[in-house]
C-alpha cells in the first residue's frame, strides 16, 4: 500500500506542487531530439540502447576466439614430434639418471652409509625380453588360451 494514502493532507499539498511543476514540463520530443543529437555528436552512432549489448557480444566473440587459438596452440605443441631428442638419447638420459640419481647435485660425505646391499637392483633397468608368442598383423597380444 502506498503510504501517502495515510496522510491525505500532505499528499494533497504535494499533488498541487506536482500539478504546478507539470505545467512547466519541457517537451519530451524536443528533449529527446537534443539527446539524440548529443549522442550522435559523441560518436555513439545510431543511438540505441543495443550499443552496450553489441559491445559485450564482440567481447564475448573475442574471448572465444582467444580461447580457441590457445587450445589449438596447445594441441600443436603436444602433437608435434620432439625432433631434438631421439629415442636413444632419451634412453641414455634415463640410464644416466638411474645410475646417478643425484648426478651434479651436492653429495653428503655420509651418503655412502645409505648404500645398502642389493641397492644396485633399484638403479638398473630390468630387461623384459620378447613375448613367448609371435606378434604380427591380425594377431592379438595375448594367446588364445588366456
Amino acid at each position: 500500500m502506498n503510504d501517502q494514502r495515510l496522510d491525505p493532507d500532505l499528499g494533497k499539498l504535494f499533488q498541487e506542487l506536482r500539478a504546478e511543476d507539470q505545467a512547466g514540463t519541457p517537451s519530451f520530443a524536443n528533449m529527446m531530439a537534443r539527446a539524440k543529437e548529443d549522442a550522435a555528436s559523441l560518436g555513439v552512432g545510431r543511438s540505441s540502447p543495443a550499443g552496450h549489448g553489441r559491445r559485450s557480444r564482440e567481447l564475448r566473440r573475442l574471448a572465444w576466439g582467444g580461447s580457441l587459438l590457445a587450445a589449438a596452440a596447445a594441441a600443436v605443441l603436444l602433437l608435434l614430434p620432439d625432433s631434438g631428442t631421439t629415442e636413444a638419447e632419451f634412453e641414455m638420459a634415463v640410464r644416466a639418471f638411474s645410475t646417478h640419481p643425484a648426478g651434479g647435485a651436492w653429495r653428503s660425505p655420509t651418503d655412502g652409509l645409505l648404500d645398502l646391499p642389493g641397492s644396485n637392483v633399484l638403479s638398473t633397468l630390468p630387461s623384459v625380453g620378447s613375448p613367448p608368442w609371435p606378434l604380427g598383423p591380425g594377431t592379438t597380444s595375448r594367446p588364445n588360451h588366456l
Binding site: 504535494f14 511543476d21 514540463t25 528533449m31 543511438s47
Partner: protein, 180 residues
C-alpha cells in the same frame, strides 16, 4: 528492450521524471532540464541500461538522481535555490486558473511547502518527494535512494513529523486539510 519501446516508456514517465529532476536540482528548472536530457542521453547511448532487477520507473529515477548528483558535484550553491524559490513566488503569469484567488492560495501553499521542505534533511526531502509526489512506496523510494528500507522508513517518519510541524507553524496544513 527495443529503442521505440524505450522511448515510449520514457515519454510516459516524462512529466514525473521532470518533477524528480526538478527536486534533485533544488527546483532549478534549467538545471533540471539539462540533467534530464543528460539522463536520456545516457539511456539512449546504452551507458545506463535497465537490467530488469527493479521497475523501470525506479531505475529511471535512480539514473536521474545519479546524473543530478554528478551535475551538482561542482556547482552546488544555495543562491541558485534561493533564486528559483524567488521566481516561484514572484511568477504571476503562468498557469492562470479559473479563479485567481484560489490560484493565488494554491500558489501560496506550494510556496510554503517548498520552503518547509528546504528545512528538512536531504534524505527526508527525497523520501517525502518520492512517496507523496511520485506515488512510490517507501520500499521503491529506498531503492531509488540506494538505502535500506528501514533507513528510508526512519527518514520518512521523521521528515513527515518535521514537515507537519513546519507547515502547522504557517497554517498551511490545516488549510489544505479543510480543502480550502
Amino acid at each position: 528492450m527495443k529503442p521505440t519501446e524505450l522511448e515510449a516508456q520514457l515519454e510516459t514517465l516524462h512529466p514525473e521524471s521532470f518533477g524528480w529532476a526538478l527536486h534533485c536540482c533544488g527546483r532549478d528548472e534549467t538545471e533540471a532540464e539539462d540533467v534530464l536530457q543528460t539522463a536520456y542521453l545516457k539511456i539512449l547511448s546504452g551507458k545506463a541500461r535497465h537490467s530488469g532487477r527493479s521497475s523501470f520507473k525506479t531505475w529511471l529515477f535512480g539514473v536521474i538522481r545519479f546524473t543530478a548528483m554528478e551535475a551538482r558535484r561542482g556547482a552546488r550553491n544555495r543562491e541558485r535555490q534561493a533564486r528559483s524559490l524567488t521566481l516561484l513566488v514572484s511568477d504571476p503569469g503562468s498557469g492562470s486558473g479559473p479563479d485567481p484567488r484560489a490560484e493565488a492560495e494554491r500558489r501560496e501553499r506550494t510556496r510554503q511547502l517548498v520552503q518547509a521542505l528546504e528545512h528538512l534533511s536531504p534524505r527526508q526531502r527525497e523520501v517525502l518527494h518520492l512517496v507523496f509526489y511520485q506515488d512510490l512506496t517507501i520500499d521503491e523510494a529506498a531503492r531509488v535512494m540506494g538505502i535500506t528500507l528501514g533507513s528510508a522508513r526512519t527518514h520518512y517518519e521523521r521528515g513527515k513529523t518535521r514537515l507537519r510541524t513546519l507547515l502547522a507553524r504557517n497554517g498551511t496544513n490545516e488549510r489544505s486539510a479543510t480543502g480550502s
